[in-house]
């Protein structure tokens, strides 16, 4: 049986299965946008999905520039869109 995980993204609560990446969990919950770009304020989501492109970067528990496609969601994680 897989364990259920609860984490927050921009203060909103999300649940997923253990082992899922943050990006996958958010996309599964129909939350495609992960951040806005610095200059154009354009929405961005996952692009390469394997940690190459850094388009999906978010702040995780206060640490900036984490690739949400690589980091597995953990119980109680506080995820915030990069600015």
């Amino acid at each position: 049986m897989t364990e259920r995980i609860t984490f927050t993204f921009n203060d909103k609560e999300f649940t997923c299965e253990s082992g899922q990446s943050i990006a996958a969990a958010l996309i599964a919950a129909d939350n495609r946008e992960l951040r806005k770009t610095r200059f154009g304020n354009e929405p961005r989501s996952i692009f390469c999905g394997i940690g190459i492109c850094f388009d999906c970067v978010v702040e995780i528990d206060g640490v900036a520039n984490q690739r949400s496609c690589l980091v597995e969601a953990k119980q109680g994680m506080k995820v915030v869109s990069a600015t």
Partner: protein, 445 residues
């Protein structure tokens, strides 16, 4: 001791082969589990089971002389006398390991080409769509268009369909007639007929029609424009179709990650299709003594070629003999890899797809207009100068996504072909992965 970096097909084959005579091996990889991108989480998702992977995985886990270091990102390699010191980050901590010999099997990632809307949420690489499914069991969308070029589009489309996605379009940019130039490669690799038959059946089962000579020319708000293109990838006017879709998964073959070999100083060359790769000899030895390189970084060729290259590298690094039949297998797989390059070339016409406002460098948000201006107004004559003017390629991904495209766009604007020197220079970076100055400072002796 031998350090193998990368636990995909090439790295696993290398570690397994080298362990046959009891050599001590450290297998370093950035993922939690072995398999690389190709065998990521194999066995758990429909359509991705592999007996070959299961066999290799069990040999690796039962070999006493192999230590698997997982979730470790290598960010640099230093030479210390006769030893290589491999520095890596694991769980936010800096660690290192030394060995006399290195085998690099760092793999490849999807090549992307810019088109209007390629930076919008919902546009991604086929590799991303597959990684979300294999790694996390998540479908990237209910309705998906798969497009670009190369045989990889087939497992992506059929894999997504098997897990319940509706493939609303599967578009190959090249024509299948190109395979007529490479019939010998198919005859030397008859197993490929079975694969073709397998995917053909799956396409039929899921009622996916594969269309040729087409490309996604724009994407916005849940709709993709699909255009007919000629053999040079120029869009034919008035022949387009609007397709409603959540996701466009578009990929143009693969680019190898050359960073680590570049840091060690291994000589590179430009492959027949313009891809920068490492030069290696018949035993996968690089130009640097005691460094072997195997898999996609020595020429894009897929898992079959990676496996035999990895095995040869592992045998050579552990001073075991390599049978003539293994050498012949490598040649046979290489002939097939060359056939893929001939059958799925990238036409320069893609340079006409971006509009002036289309993003070319995703990280630094540099548009086609800015790159054009750096050439026409500021006088940039090569991509390096264009990058200095525009910051294209200077973001977090360090140009992995855009630098080849920027070189080719600047080449197109200046009517010069991109030189081998420029292609090699734009593929290298001094630090493999972003690392904070704090860690860099603390981690040093």
């Amino acid at each position: 001791m031998i350090i193998v970096i990368g636990a995909g097909p090439a790295g696993l084959a290398a570690a397994e082969a080298a362990s046959r005579n009891g050599s001590d091996i450290a297998l370093i990889d950035s993922s939690p589990r072995v398999g690389g991108q190709y065998w990521r989480n194999r066995g758990t998702v429909k359509g991705y089971r592999s007996g070959r992977a299961d066999q290799l995985f069990s040999k690796i886990s039962s070999a006493k002389s192999i230590t698997h270091i997982s979730e470790a990102t290598v960010w640099s390699i230093e030479k210390e006398g006769d030893l290589f010191r491999v520095n890596y980050l694991q769980g936010g901590e800096e660690s290192s390991l030394t060995a006399e010999k290195l085998i690099l099997a760092t793999g490849a990632y999807d090549r992307s080409l810019p088109f209007p809307g390629w930076d919008k949420p919902g546009s991604m690489t086929p590799g991303a769509a597959q990684a979300m499914l294999k790694g996390s069991g998540v479908l990237v969308g209910k309705r998906v268009v798969v497009a670009g070029t190369g045989p990889f589009l087939l497992p992506v489309a059929t894999g997504l369909a098997e897990s319940g996605a509706e493939i609303v379009g599967l578009y190959e940019a090249n024509s299948p007639i190109r395979w007529l130039l490479s019939l010998h490669a198919l005859l030397l690799n008859p197993g490929k007929f079975a694969e073709l038959f397998y995917y053909g059946n799956l396409l039929k089962r899921f009622k996916i029609s594969l269309k040729f000579n087409r490309a996604v020319s724009s994407f916005a708000d849940g709709s993709a424009t699909v255009s007919h293109i000629n053999s040079h990838f120029m869009v034919k006017s008035q022949r387009e179709k609007i397709v409603h879709t959540d996701v466009v998964a578009v990929g143009w073959g693969f680019l190898p990650d050359l960073t680590l070999g570049g840091i060690v100083g291994c000589a590179q060359r430009v492959d027949s299709d313009g891809t920068t790769i490492f030069a290696v000899d018949g035993e996968q030895r690089s130009s640097v003594e005691n460094v072997w390189i195997a898999g996609e970084a020595t020429g894009i060729g897929g898992a079959d070629l990676s496996l035999i290259e990895g095995e040869i590298a592992g045998l050579s690094a552990s001073s075991q003999s390599i049978s003539p039949s293994k050498r012949f297998t490598r040649i046979r797989k290489e002939i097939f890899a060359n056939a893929l390059k001939r059958s799925y070339p990238i036409g320069d016409g893609w340079q006409s797809w971006p509009q002036e406002s289309t993003t070319i460098c995703r990280c630094e948000e540099v548009t086609m207009h800015e790159i054009r201006e750096s050439v026409t107004e500021l006088g940039a004559e090569d991509s390096r100068t264009a990058k200095l003017f525009t910051r294209a390629g200077m973001g977090l991904c360090q140009g992995r996504v855009c630098s080849r495209n920027v070189s080719e766009i600047v080449g197109g604007l200046t009517h010069c072909s991109v030189t081998d020197g420029e292609r090699i220079a734009s593929s290298n970076r001094p630090i493999a992965s972003p690392i904070s100055l704090g860690l860099l400072g603390d981690g040093k002796k």
